[in-house]
Amino acid sequence: MAQHNIHASKNSSFFMLLGLSILIYFVPQKTTNSLNFLFHRLFAPFLQIGRQLADEEIRMSGPSEQTVSKDEYDQLWKNYKNLRAQTTELEKENLSLSRLRRQVGLSEGGLLSAKVTTLVRSARHELIINKGARDGVAAGQIVLSPEKNGIVGMIRETSETMSRVGLLTDPTCGIEVRIRRDGDPLDVAAQMFGDGKTGCRIGFLPRDTDIRAGDTIYAAAHSGKISIPIVAGEVREVKPDEQNPLLWSIQVEPIESAGKLKDVVVVVPNVK
């Protein structure tokens, strides 16, 4: 009898839970995202199961994509040699920049190593990493591959101990880039967005701009983020925009495969 009395009516139970849902919905994202991060932190080992194998499945290509012709090989070899020469120059430049950074107090403290706990690639393309606001990570910071030679994405939001990284392939992730070509003075500024699939796209470039497949995409040097351009991808296809034929629609293939990453480096310029 007593038990019967304390039973809420069927409808009041529904309205109570719906009200609670609406209340939670209106709690600011900064507060509720800690719950999302908590879930990912608690179940990280389970969420990671099959991540690398699955990524290899996705990226598996046919035999025709694994071999190149002799001409193409020669071309690649020359490019490689040119790149080696450029790398040597860049290493010298990097050394002097490192000295400069140490002098102004940034040094290696500006680079923060983090472990990837989860890869989300459904509606959004994101990584969850195990460093957060407590370590100096903040929204908008650039995330690099462990070797620091390729850009992975940008910090989207943080909790105290974890952060969400928007990958370059995420449609809502936009970064400033420069389009350059080996042995050519070409240097075009543009804005790059993910296509929500496996690549990125660049729009709003007029058709008289000389862009070709194979041109390299660099994340633009940005005050407070990165001091030198860092390679982000390669132009895969250039075709006239379907909606505005006076503009190019450029497809870009990102250089980094997020699925294989176990660690990343966050550029944290303000850490001293």
């Binding site: 069927k10 139970s13 989300v120 809502t172």
Partner: protein, 170 residues
């Protein structure tokens, strides 16, 4: 209803939905994966008694929010759609695969579009390719729904151990 068993099944669903294992069966360049949680929501809405169904669909919505990016949208939509599905549970014969698929397909559309809008409203960032992604995911989930449904039917007897407590469906 045995809530510990329900929590365990829900957790398994959440880990599949939020984890990487479903990447093995992801399809197309859009990387479309089935949604296990929507099948669970529909199943519990159809099989549990009204009071339990309300709690179950709320819990599934809570977990769907936890594995996504923001809290609230799925809790709201799953609660509303789940209650509506519970209301019509005696009028649809979900023993046939085709009806299971159809119900899951429409339930996914009814929850996913408003949830995506609510999410965009809260986050200030709309998903691109929303229509195509939701449609493709709805179709893929509907195709696989009978498989997940069979698994849920199998574990259902441990959630309601006494047959007389189970809802009699058509």
């Amino acid at each position: 209803m045995r809530w510990l068993m329900f929590t365990l099944v829900l957790l398994i669903g959440a880990l599949f939905n939020g984890g990487s294992l479903l990447n093995f069966i992801a399809m197309g360049s859009g990387h479309i994966r089935p949604s296990i949680l929507i099948v669970m929501m529909v199943f519990f809405a159809f099989h549990a008694h009204r009071q339990d169904a309300i709690r179950c669909v709320f819990a599934v919505g809570l977990v769907a929010d936890l594995v996504s990016t923001t809290m609230g949208p799925y809790m709201i939509m799953y609660s509303i759609v789940g209650l509506a599905l519970n209301g019509i549970s005696r009028t649809i014969n979900t023993k046939r695969f085709i009806y299971q698929s159809a119900v899951v397909f429409f339930a996914f559309l009814l929850t996913e579009f408003p949830a995506a809008w609510l999410e965009a409203w809260k986050m200030g960032q709309a998903r691109t390719h929303l229509s195509s992604t939701v449609m493709e995911t709805a179709i893929y989930t509907a195709v696989l729904a009978p498989l997940f449904w069979m698994f849920l039917s199998w574990v259902w007897k441990w959630m309601y151990p006494r047959p007389e407590d189970r809802l009699r469906l058509r």
